[in-house]
Subunit: 142 residues, 4 copies
């Protein structure tokens, strides 16, 4: 597994009567991708929240190419698409891990806010976290 | 609609690849039954929580008789099975509202706790709420 | 309630530890909007599927403006953004029904396919359904 | 990991506004426990269904001891509680894998049915599958 990659297995609960995964679940998988991405940067998102920095989603997008089925093993590849003072955009590619077929691509935009929902300038609020994200953004671009 | 009755329509998202509703969703419907039951007692569960009384589930049970399908209109009949100083048991019957067929029966047991998770004696903590629940319990038994 | 409007109440299950509704659930609400939109056009989506026409989602987008909370009553306003031979785009606005505040806007694009996943030209496959959608598209534009 | 053990990590989506995992999600985890249990018996549940044997849930029960939180690593221990000609009962224990604290215990009862929902006598329908389940039942009892 490379940096920013996460494996998940499709749950029966995630299927619908079309026999494939219900479309909203891809956004849950993106959240798993984010959580694991943070962990690999050495920052547990759980701890980030406890330190008073929340990242609510402000925009979410998904483009579906091919369906995922029950029990498929999927690979979520997460990266930072862009980083700004008060917001961040993550990018995701979801593959069938056995066939390497691309099933979906997505993006989520997040604001940096405090527990009261007020915007934060991350650079000031948590320079360490900001620096790690900045470095990670650079890695994508190489 | 009689007291303690709630109508819901089955969502596409709630189905699975068997073509029927996934079993865990019945517990979500029970929660809707509880929420509406509280509302009819004149107590918004949202307000109950804001007043520092939480009712986490300690036991949950469901017996499935016949499947629910997408777009079915269901009737949830909620009542209090028993009421104790520090816990309450709700009982649910879920019917297909068009055919009146019983699809499932269930029960959930809840503790009365505060925001720190400590048990509360409801009678002391909120005599009004306690009295309303006690009256509602009596109504079931008539 | 005007054409294309649906009311739903936020479920406890739909909240997350941030105390607001989890972002993926908005896509479930859009599906409810679509289902009710079809019903008002005189076409039950359940029947549409039984007649061999499926509308899998090919793209989904949501922009979040303000959070929804447990027990809020929401109004979903659904319309057709565009209609093509082999695909359709729906548009959604989600309001807090008490305050009339706009919480989110979204779009979903769907392909017309058969049970084998092959694209359908809806105009040929089901002229009645096509005509109803076309009329509904026109209504939006007035 | 011993036989019948599965690790899962709590998803943000699974939490609710109480700050802990919503109770219905434990039943989703039990399903994951079952899926992995089957795999270790050398029978992919996906294949079992393709061979015309479905196991819809007829009863489900969960007893909650302590809450699970976002990002917790959980261990689901699955075993067969009892096996009958036309039904099977699974038993689950869900632990916090870091602290070994027992969070919940549950059971699900399943019927063996065909794609038309008719009961099957598994011993006749699929002697190999029956034999594997019978052996697994014996292993529990040692």
């Amino acid at each position: 597994m490379k940096n920013g990659e996460t494996l998940i297995r499709v749950r029966y609960e995630e299927t619908d009567q079309m026999g494939v995964v219900y479309y909203a679940n891809y956004f849950v998988w993106m959240e798993i991708g984010r959580t694991e991405y943070f962990r690999r940067l050495g920052m547990c998102y759980r701890e980030v929240e406890k330190n008073g920095i929340l990242l609510p989603v402000t925009k979410a997008y998904c483009q579906y190419q091919a369906p995922a089925h029950y029990d498929d093993l999927l690979r979520i590849v997460t990266s930072i698409a862009s980083l700004h003072d008060v917001r961040i955009v993550f990018k995701y590619e979801i593959f069938n891990n056995s066939t390497d077929k691309l099933l979906a691509m997505g993006e989520t935009e997040h604001a940096f806010v405090n527990h009261q929902g007020r915007p934060l300038v991350l650079k000031k609020q948590n320079p360490f976290f900001w620096k790690r994200l900045l470095e990670a953004t650079g890695e994508n671009m190489e």
